[in-house]
């Protein structure tokens, strides 16, 4: 089980690397936000796997916090993108 969960974490890390390529390429700010939002969701998934691997309740709270930060951050920057051209 432990090995399987470690493989899961490596896979999610690989996905995050793909997303970072998109964040690097852009072309628009919106694309970068979407990519970074998904990086945080991948991190949350990896933390859930970590919680199962170690059995520590700390990671349960961490998953929720990371998912929440991803959501709040995305909304915030999307709002900024909409208003950036308004003087």
């Amino acid at each position: 089980m432990t090995t399987f969960l470690e493989v899961v974490q490596v896979c999610l890390g690989f996905g995050a690397a793909l997303l970072l390529v998109r964040a690097w390429k852009g072309p628009d700010l919106v694309d970068r936000i979407v990519a970074l939002d998904l990086v945080l969701l991948m991190l949350a998934g990896a933390l859930a796997a970590e919680a199962a691997r170690t059995g520590s309740p700390f990671f349960v709270a961490a998953v929720i916090v990371v998912a929440l930060i991803a959501f709040a951050g995305t909304i915030l920057v999307a709002r900024f993108v909409e208003w950036r051209d308004v003087p």
Binding site: M1, F4, L5, V8, C11, L12, F14, G15, A16, L18, L19, V21, R22, D28, L29, V30, D31, I33, V34, A35, D37, L38, L41, M42, A44, G45, A48, A49, A51, A52, R53, G55, P57, V60, A61, V63, I64, V65, A67, L68, F71, T74, I75, A78, R79, V81, E82
Partner: protein, 278 residues
């Protein structure tokens, strides 16, 4: 390995595959709005499945509850962020090659004024809710406080959107939720297929769909459900009259898009006990 562990491993694997498909779709889809289809659907379901699967695999109750919390959270937030980003992308001119565009030339109001009778989120409601939460957990750790704050905000948000006499039909709600879950699975399968077979039939368009109901909560749930259905994404919602602007990944015709949304609206009206428009 116990049966629960095996099941958990299968569920986690599905979640990870969906997450990877979302990542690959984000890399390979041609336009910003198409990429949002890849991001909004498989990534959130992938995280939910990973959380659930981890709970099953560890045979731990708190982790399984976490999966349920994540599912509810993603159900609420994934369409919101997809909608906000879709709107921002459209306004930034990141939507080329549209086969049909009803949003062109529409001037949108800068901000929506609160409706009469709409209540704001008040701290006086929030504080007791948080305290009740902490007392029920019988633990005053930082995580419990944060959780209580989130749960309280959620209750306040629901109270704010619902009318004072807002009701729903449990049976019809169940029908809606079952159909809705089916839609989520179908939409994920479709986006996943689109990612795996590149260069296929993407025909993007934005279609304006006037809603026949005048209830704000129907509009909210319809807009949410559109984002979860196969190949569609809510980009904009205007009030007076209520019109949703839907971005389609596989555009066939304006009529077929409108009749799809009308079917969804009927389901939602039944579930929320609102008069079904004719």
């Amino acid at each position: 390995m116990s049966p629960a562990e095996t099941l958990g491993a299968v569920v986690i694997s599905t979640g990870v595959v969906l997450s990877l498909i979302a990542a690959w779709g984000l890399l390979s889809f041609p336009t910003a709005l198409a990429r949002m289809h890849a991001a909004g659907k498989p990534a959130s379901l992938g995280l939910v499945l990973t959380g659930f699967g981890a709970g099953l695999a560890a045979e731990s109750v708190p982790l399984t509850v976490l999966g349920a919390v994540l599912a509810f959270f993603m159900f609420l937030t994934a369409p919101i962020s997809a909608h906000m980003l879709g709107r921002a992308a459209y306004q930034a001119g990141q939507a080329p090659n549209l086969h049909h565009d009803d949003l062109a030339g529409v001037t949108l109001p800068a901000d929506v004024a609160p409706r009469p009778g709409e209540r704001s989120i008040s701290g006086w409601h929030l504080i007791p809710l948080v305290i009740i939460w902490v007392v029920l957990w019988r633990d005053a750790g930082i995580g419990v406080w944060v959780g209580g704050l989130l749960a309280g905000l959620l209750v306040e948000l629901i109270r704010r959107t619902g009318r004072p006499n807002g009701t729903f039909r449990p049976g019809a709600m169940l029908v809606f939720l079952v159909r809705y879950s089916g839609m989520i699975v179908a939409s994920n399968a479709r986006v996943a297929w689109e990612v795996i077979t590149p260069g296929s039939q993407i025909r993007e368009a934005i279609v304006a769909v006037p809603l026949r109901s005048d209830s704000l909560r129907v509009a909210l749930l319809v807009a949410n459900a559109i984002t979860h259905t196969p190949g569609t994404l809510t980009v904009e919602l205007t009030e007076d009259p209520l019109v949703v602007y839907v971005h389609l990944l596989h555009f066939k015709s304006v009529e077929s898009a409108r009749s799809d949304v009308a079917r969804l609206e009927d389901l939602v009206c039944h579930a929320l006990n609102e008069p079904v428009p004719v």
